[in-house]
């Protein structure tokens, strides 16, 4: 019952967001009212995307290194140390880069979305928007939604690259694989499908992070403590849903033979 309610509220926010993105811009004459705010989207893209590159770099680069070291140890015994390159690349593109990026972004962006909306909620600012006939979903959530849905796949591509670089550092400088050979093996088994599997995940994760952030923010009650509680809940709920969605999407690809 409780989970059902949360799910319904989440769907409601999603539908309203989609309405403001896809239907409202065509329904209103431009002089009537504003549907999409390009500048707000752009600002959010800069904040969510560009400002997150460094943290994504740290997480995926070192994951690449760790992955290379761990697998080298195993593959050495079978005499296939060269395959470290393709193992690192494929596991990063299909799985690790999108998921780790999403988790980091859920911590950084999801929390900030919730904290921003929640503090506005407890200070009557959401109500003020409402009395001015400005939909809080349109004004606050939609720009963030568009920005993150565009930026998270891009960040996750960057994550792929940083991770491959991390594997390369270990492969070339520690395992003494020839640099050209490493790159050749790294991309030999990588198909386009591996990349877009990862990107489709990033796309879903971005929706989860914004919707959970918005939902938790908008339902906040109870002052400063409430804001803190909502922010925590937002991150925890995003983490769980990201892992769950990852499992489901991987399952779909797995059972459909990809």
């Amino acid at each position: 019952m409780c989970w059902c309610q949360i799910f319904m509220d989440g769907v409601k926010i999603l539908l309203e967001t989609l309405y403001w993105i896809f239907i409202a811009p065509f329904r209103f004459k431009p002089q009537e009212r504003k549907a999409l705010d390009g500048k707000a989207v752009f600002d959010q893209m800069a904040f969510m995307g560009c400002d997150s590159i460094l943290i994504v770099f740290f997480v995926t680069f070192f994951t690449g290194i760790v992955l290379a070291m761990q697998s080298a140890h195993q593959l050495e015994r079978m005499g296939g140390v060269i395959y470290v390159a393709s193992l690192v690349t494929i596991s990063l593109c299909r799985e690790l880069a999108p998921v780790l990026t999403a988790l980091v972004i859920a911590g950084r962006i999801g929390a900030s979305i919730t904290a921003e909306i929640a503090s506005m909620k407890v200070n009557e600012q959401i109500e003020a928007l409402d009395t001015m006939a400005i939909s809080p979903i349109r004004y606050l959530v939609t720009p963030k939604f568009i920005a993150l849905v565009l930026m998270l796949p891009l960040l996750s591509i960057l994550g792929d690259a940083f991770g491959i670089l991390g594997g390369y550092v270990i492969g070339v400088y520690n395992l003494h694989i020839n640099s050209g050979l490493y790159m050749q093996i790294a991309f030999k088994f990588l198909t386009l499908k591996d990349v877009y599997t990862g990107l489709s995940k990033a796309f879903v994760f971005a929706m989860i992070i914004t919707l959970v952030g918005a939902y938790q923010g908008l339902k906040t009650e109870g002052g400063a403590v409430g804001v803190g509680r909502s922010t925590t809940n937002s991150v925890v709920m995003s983490f769980i849903l990201i892992i769950l969605a990852d499992c489901v999407i991987t399952g779909i690809y797995f059972f459909s033979g990809n």
């Binding site: 002089q31 600012q125 109500e127």
Partner: protein
């Protein structure tokens, strides 16, 4: 149809229950065009809820709200938004968006609901700020303003779209007596200058006597009395008398005040 010209906002038999508690009980009021109408009552008597219902922010349980001859409480979506654009609301906490400057706050509703170009929006916003005496503060963030200035900035935002009615939720709460008087004067000035109707919720009796054309006394969700300031001042109702004199002894008991405050 005569009503239509004279009375800009009418509520008919409003009921509101909230969590099983009767917050508003058969509230019927009619507010005349161009007057300052004050709703007074103790904490928790439902006056803020009544204001929000009239402004379309809170759904009601049953009854009618008629604005300009049209029932508005049952409207949804864009129709409701169109009505909301003709209302302005000044909040107790001012409720300015604290990430925006004062000018951006005032121009926000204009930017959202019109397609005027930037310079025109700027001119309108500056004009509204001038009306409330805040010229020179347009680049400040709300956190840099005093309580009274925030209230005035919120007021400038409320009148940004040239509304027909402005709702004030406790406009003088938490202000010193001089600033109170300034805000009261501002309410009177705006009402006259801009030819708007003001509906004010307050429990500050000095304010009530200073600004009101007519007053409604709300007690436990019911309208006890509606009348001019003099009629209220000379009221024979013991509850009204106790309220305006702030007496401890009388029909309003502290116990039920406390139990209401708990809700």
């Amino acid at each position: 149809m005569l009503l239509k010209n004279d009375h800009v906002l009418v509520t008919e038999q409003l009921f509101k229950t909230y969590n099983g508690r009767q917050v508003l009980d058969d509230v019927s009021l009619s507010i005349k065009r161009g007057e300052v109408f004050v709703i007074m009552g103790g904490s928790g008597c439902g006056k803020s809820t009544l204001l929000r219902i009239m402004a379309g922010g809170v759904p009601l349980t049953s009854g009618k709200v008629i604005f300009d001859g049209k029932e508005i409480a049952s409207l949804r979506g864009e129709e409701k938004d169109r009505i909301k654009c003709r209302f302005g609301m000044s909040f107790q906490s001012a409720a300015l968006l604290d990430s925006l400057t004062v000018e951006e706050n005032v121009s926000l509703p204009i930017k959202e609901h019109t397609r005027l170009n930037k310079e025109v929006v700027h001119i309108i916003a500056m004009m509204k700020l001038k009306l409330v005496g805040l010229q020179g503060f347009e680049a400040y963030k709300p956190s840099e303003l005093s309580g009274g200035m925030k209230k005035r900035a919120g007021l400038a935002r409320a009148i940004a779209l040239d509304p027909d009615i402005v709702f004030y939720d406790e406009p003088t709460a938490g202000l010193d007596p001089v600033v109170c008087a300034v805000v009261d004067q501002l309410i009177l000035d705006l009402t006259k200058k801009l030819n708007i109707t003001s509906i004010v919720v307050t429990h500050n009796m000095e304010s009530v006597f200073r600004i009101a054309d007519r007053v409604a006394m709300l007690y436990k969700g019911k309208v006890l009395q509606v009348g001019t300031v003099d009629e209220i001042r000379n009221s024979s109702n013991p509850i009204v008398q106790q309220f305006i004199n702030g007496a401890i002894e009388g029909p309003i008991q502290m116990e039920d005040k406390l139990s209401e405050a708990i809700y």
